[in-house]
């Protein structure tokens, strides 16, 4: 049981952030009003997604160094979980945008960047599906994954900062969140929420990886 403490911690932190996210005190803000609570859910999704993508990148590089099959599985599953976080992030973001910016999909560089970045990762899955041989698939997909990661980061983190028309905080001369809307009470919910979701993501990757392992063993038994 001792090895599983982080899973429990993840559940507790996420539950805490959900409860406190809806019930906790938030500062009264201009335009945002109570929708600032979405910060606990929308922004944390992107933190979790970036972490998952970085894990995926790390395991892709590890795969290219040692060609261990497990690394390839972890890289794929981390990218899968990242896509899930990304999809939820987009949905929560659209709901938020609808209330604060007046439309679900304003023409914002960050939104468009994320959309294209996710398309790049979907292409990664298509690439994987199109190669049959396991070791070849792992190698080629790992190479593409590294490219996709670099482009994704350029897209989501570098380009919007250079653009002059982003509405997200921290860009185009807008102050970052730290500046005006995170008081200490919100910090006490936001950071645990980030850690909680990242732990949940790691857990999901872990479960999916083990599922793949079982499938693999099952197939091997069948072949024998």
């Amino acid at each position: 049981m001792k090895a599983h403490w982080w899973k429990a911690l993840g559940i507790i932190l996420v539950l805490y952030s959900i409860v406190m996210g809806f019930l906790g005190k938030v500062p009264a803000l201009w335009v945002l009003h109570e929708t600032i609570r979405n910060l606990y859910f929308h922004v944390t999704m992107w933190f979790a997604m970036m972490t998952m993508l970085s894990i995926s990148l790390g395991y892709s590089i590890a795969y290219l160094r040692g060609f261990k099959r497990e690394y390839d599985v972890i890289a794929t599953e981390a990218a899968n979980v990242a896509m899930m976080f990304g999809a939820v992030g987009i949905v929560t973001g659209m709901a938020w945008a609808n209330f604060t910016w007046g439309e679900p999909w304003p023409n914002d560089p960050k939104l468009n960047g994320v959309a294209v970045g996710m398309i790049a990762y979907i292409a990664y899955f298509i690439l994987r599906a199109s190669i049959d041989e396991q070791s070849k698939r792992g190698r080629i997909a790992a190479v593409y994954n590294i490219f996709a990661y670099v482009m994704f980061m350029v897209f989501v983190n570098a380009l919007p900062r250079m653009a002059d028309d982003s509405m997200h905080p921290g860009q185009a001369g807008n102050p970052g969140f730290g500046g005006y809307d995170l008081d200490s009470g919100m910090r006490a919910v936001f950071y645990p929420a980030v850690i909680g979701w990242i732990l949940m993501g790691v857990w999901l990757v872990n479960v999916r990886k083990r599922m793949r392992e079982v499938e693999f063993k099952f197939l091997q038994n069948e072949l024998d």
């Binding site: 080629i140 490219f147 482009m151």
Partner: protein, 204 residues
């Protein structure tokens, strides 16, 4: 190596010219500068994709095997990238020439536009060479080429369109050098990644 396929060079140039000609027949003149710019880059993107996809996809297995016995993977990918960069730049210049004679040239800041076009073309070439190498390792490679390359080309495309729209309108609201530096460093990063990762694609 590549010069053995002279007909392919001709085909690419013909492709670019005929695309421009189709645009000319359907538009005659373009009043809006934004449309001019957008259309130019769409033509450019597809011409470049077409040109570079031949670099690995057009080679037979035997030829590839032969090359691999002669040269190291790093040398192969670097020479391919350099060749493709030169090819795409030449293609871009031809396209600009034909495009502006047929449809007209509203560009105000020509040096900036040309600089952007050259840098953008080399960025396209670097990404596309690598994607072409990836796609050639899979089974159904032509369709994959487009799927894999377009998302990866998008950051370059966005910077390029921003720069060239500045050049076309002549309104330099921001300093373009920042974007030029970003574009250049993106090119270098892509080429370096290609150089580092190509050896993994190479052996079967």
């Amino acid at each position: 190596m590549e010069f053995r396929q002279k007909y392919a060079l001709g085909a690419i140039v013909l492709y670019a010219v005929s695309t421009v000609f189709i645009c000319y027949l359907s538009f005659h003149t373009i009043d809006s500068k934004t449309t001019w710019n957008a259309l130019f880059w769409v033509i450019e993107l597809f011409a470049a994709t077409n040109a570079v996809s031949k670099s690995f996809g057009g080679e037979s297995k035997e030829v590839q095997l032969y090359t691999y016995t002669l040269a190291s993977p790093g040398a192969v990918i670097l020479s391919k990238i350099i060749y493709n960069i030169l090819l795409t730049i030449a293609l871009t210049l031809v396209t600009i020439l034909v495009y502006s004679t047929l449809i007209g040239n509203p560009v105000v800041e020509m040096p900036l536009f040309l600089g952007t076009a050259v840098l953008g073309a080399s960025g396209f070439a670097a990404v596309l060479t690598m994607v072409s190498a990836i796609a050639s390792r899979t089974n159904g490679n032509l369709a994959l080429m487009a799927i894999l390359s377009i998302p990866l080309l998008m950051p370059i495309l966005i910077i390029v369109i921003k720069l060239s729209s500045m050049a076309v309108s002549g309104m330099l609201l921001e300093d373009p050098t920042n974007y030029l530096i970003a574009l250049g460093s993106l090119n270098i990063v892509t080429a370096a990644l290609g150089y580092l990762l190509f050896p993994y694609l190479w052996h079967d």
